[in-house]
C-alpha cells in the first residue's frame, strides 16, 4: 500500500488520500489506540483526531526518516496518550493495573483480514509481545519498562531486540510458507 504517489498526495493535502490511509491502516491504528484508552468511545474519538492530524500535518512526513506507518503510529499513540491525560479520561478511568492492561484478553473485534498473521503473532512469546506493546504502542521508554517491571535495563534492551528479531523471523517464515504453498499449487 505504501507508495510514492500516496506520499506525494499526503504531502500535498489531497483529501482523497485520507480514505486510502484509513483503509490501509485504520484497523491497525485503532488496535493501538484502543489498547491505550480502553474505551470504544474514546478510541473512536482518538482515531478521528489522528486522521485529521495526519491530513493537517502530511507535509511534515519525511520518508527519509522512516516508514509511513511509523509516522502514523506516532501520531495515533500520542493522540491516545494525550486523551488519557484529559480530565474526562481521568474521571472515567478504570483501575486497571499495568499487568491487566498488557494481558487483557483480546478476542472481540480482531480484524478478520489479518487472522492469518494473528496466528503468526500468537507464536511470539507473551513476554516479548507485551514488551513490543509497551515500547512501541504505549510509548514506554526502555527505562520506564525496566522500572515498571523490575527487569534490569540491559535485559529489557536485549529482550526488545530479540522480540523484533523473532517477529521478523516469524513473518519471514509465514511469507516463505505462503510462497511454498503457491509454488506447490502451481506445480
Amino acid at each position: 500500500m505504501e507508495n510514492q504517489q500516496l506520499i506525494f498526495r499526503l504531502k500535498n493535502q489531497d483529501q482523497t488520500v485520507v480514505a486510502e490511509l484509513y483503509d490501509a491502516y485504520g484497523s491497525a491504528l485503532f488496535g493501538v489506540i484502543f489498547r491505550i484508552v480502553h474505551s470504544k468511545e474514546l478510541a473512536e474519538q482518538a482515531l478521528q483526531d489522528t486522521f485529521l492530524k495526519v491530513w493537517r500535518n502530511g507535509s511534515n512526513y519525511d520518508a527519509s526518516k522512516g516508514r509511513l506507518f511509523t509516522w502514523l503510529l506516532n501520531i495515533a499513540r500520542n493522540t491516545a496518550l494525550d486523551l488519557t491525560r484529559s480530565a474526562h479520561f481521568q474521571q472515567n478511568r478504570k483501575n486497571d493495573s499495568t499487568d491487566q492492561l498488557i494481558h487483557r484478553p483480546e478476542t472481540d473485534g480482531f480484524n478478520p483480514d489479518h487472522l492469518g498473521v494473528k496466528e503468526v503473532v500468537d507464536r511470539l512469546d507473551e513476554k516479548y509481545r507485551s514488551l513490543i506493546h509497551l515500547v512501541y504502542f504505549k510509548g514506554y521508554t526502555q527505562e520506564e519498562v525496566a522500572e515498571e517491571t523490575g527487569i534490569p535495563l540491559g535485559t529489557v534492551k536485549t529482550r526488545l531486540r530479540y522480540a523484533i528479531s523473532e517477529l521478523r523471523t516469524l513473518f519471514g517464515e509465514s511469507v516463505a510458507m505462503l510462497l511454498s504453498i503457491l509454488f506447490l499449487a502451481q506445480g
Binding site: 510514492q4 478521528q48 506507518f69
Partner: protein, 258 residues
C-alpha cells in the same frame, strides 16, 4: 565505527520507538545515510512492527470512516479560505523566500495605491508574477522531494533494478523494493513515442496485466512512482492510441521479469 555493533546496540529499536535523545537521533540518521545496512535494518524493524500492528488490528465501527471524511471536508472548506496549505518541511527555505517575495509584492501594491498612480495593470502584472513564482517554487519543492525519495529508494539494498526491454535497443529500468513496497520507473530509459501514440505502464499480477497509469515523460526529476503490487511478477510497457490508456494493453513493446 563498527557498524554491526551499532546495529546490535539496541539504539535502532529505540530510534523507531521515538525514544532517542536529539544527539542519538542525529547520529542514527547520519549513519543511516552513510551505511545502507543501517538503513536496511531500520526498515526491517519498522516493517516488522507494521506487520505486528496490522496483525493486532481491531476494526473500528463502520461509520467512523465517513465521520472522519465529513469532518475533513468541513475543515478543509474553511481552512483553505483562511490560509494556504503549509509548505513541506523540506521547503522551509523556499517558503521563506516566497513569503519575502509576497511581502515585496504587497508593499509595491500599497505604494501604487497610495501614490494614486495608474496601477491596475501593474497590480495585475505583480499578481501574475507572484503566482508564477509560487508555482515555480511548488514545482521545485515537488522535484526536490521526488529526488530525495528516489535517493532513499536507490540507496536501499533491498531495491532491485528490473530491466524492461523490447529485446533490442530499448532498456527501461523499474526499481522495485518489496520491503518498502515501492516501485518507480526511470523515465530516462523510456523511448520517445510516435505521434498519436501513448505509453502505458503495467504490472503483471497473477498472470494478468494491471494498469499502472500512463508513462509521464515529464515526471519530476525523471522518476515516476508506480503503484506497488506484492504479487507482481513482471513489469511491461505498452503502446496505446488512447491518451488516457486502455483497460488491457494494445501492443506490449517492452517487458521484464522481477
Amino acid at each position: 565505527m563498527d557498524i554491526q555493533s551499532f546495529i546490535q546496540s539496541g539504539i535502532l529499536e529505540a530510534y523507531v520507538a521515538g525514544h532517542c535523545t536529539d544527539a542519538e537521533r542525529a547520529e542514527v540518521e547520519r549513519l543511516a545515510n552513510l551505511h545502507p545496512e543501517v538503513r536496511a535494518e531500520l526498515n526491517k524493524i519498522e516493517l516488522a512492527l507494521e506487520q505486528f500492528a496490522q496483525a493486532q488490528g481491531i476494526n473500528p465501527r463502520p461509520g467512523i470512516k465517513d465521520e472522519i471524511l465529513d469532518k475533513l471536508e468541513a475543515i478543509s472548506g474553511t481552512s483553505q479560505k483562511q490560509a494556504p496549505p503549509p509548505a513541506s518541511a523540506g521547503g522551509t527555505t523556499m517558503l521563506r523566500l516566497f513569503q519575502l517575495l509576497s511581502l515585496g509584492a504587497i508593499l509595491a501594491c500599497g505604494y501604487f495605491l497610495w501614490s494614486g498612480q495608474k496601477n491596475a495593470d501593474e497590480l495585475d502584472k505583480l499578481r501574475k508574477e507572484n503566482q508564477t513564482i509560487a508555482q515555480k517554487l511548488t514545482d521545485c519543492d515537488t522535484r526536490q522531494q521526488n529526488m530525495q525519495q528516489m535517493a532513499t529508494l536507490l540507496r536501499d539494498t533491498d531495491t532491485k533494478a528490473v530491466t524492461v526491454t523490447d529485446g533490442k535497443n530499448n532498456h527501461i529500468t523499474v526499481f522495485h523494493n518489496p520491503l518498502r513496497k515501492e516501485c518507480a520507473l526511470d523515465i530516462a530509459g523510456v523511448p520517445a513515442r510516435q505521434d498519436g501514440k501513448y505509453l502505458q505502464a503495467w504490472a503483471i499480477v497473477d498472470g494478468n496485466p494491471v494498469d499502472l497509469g500512463m508513462v509521464q515523460m515529464n515526471a519530476p526529476a525523471g522518476w515516476q512512482p508506480l503503484r506497488y503490487f506484492d504479487r507482481a511478477t513482471a513489469y511491461a510497457i505498452s503502446e496505446e492510441d488512447n491518451p488516457k490508456g486502455n483497460a488491457k494493453p494494445t501492443v506490449v513493446i517492452a517487458m521484464g521479469n522481477i
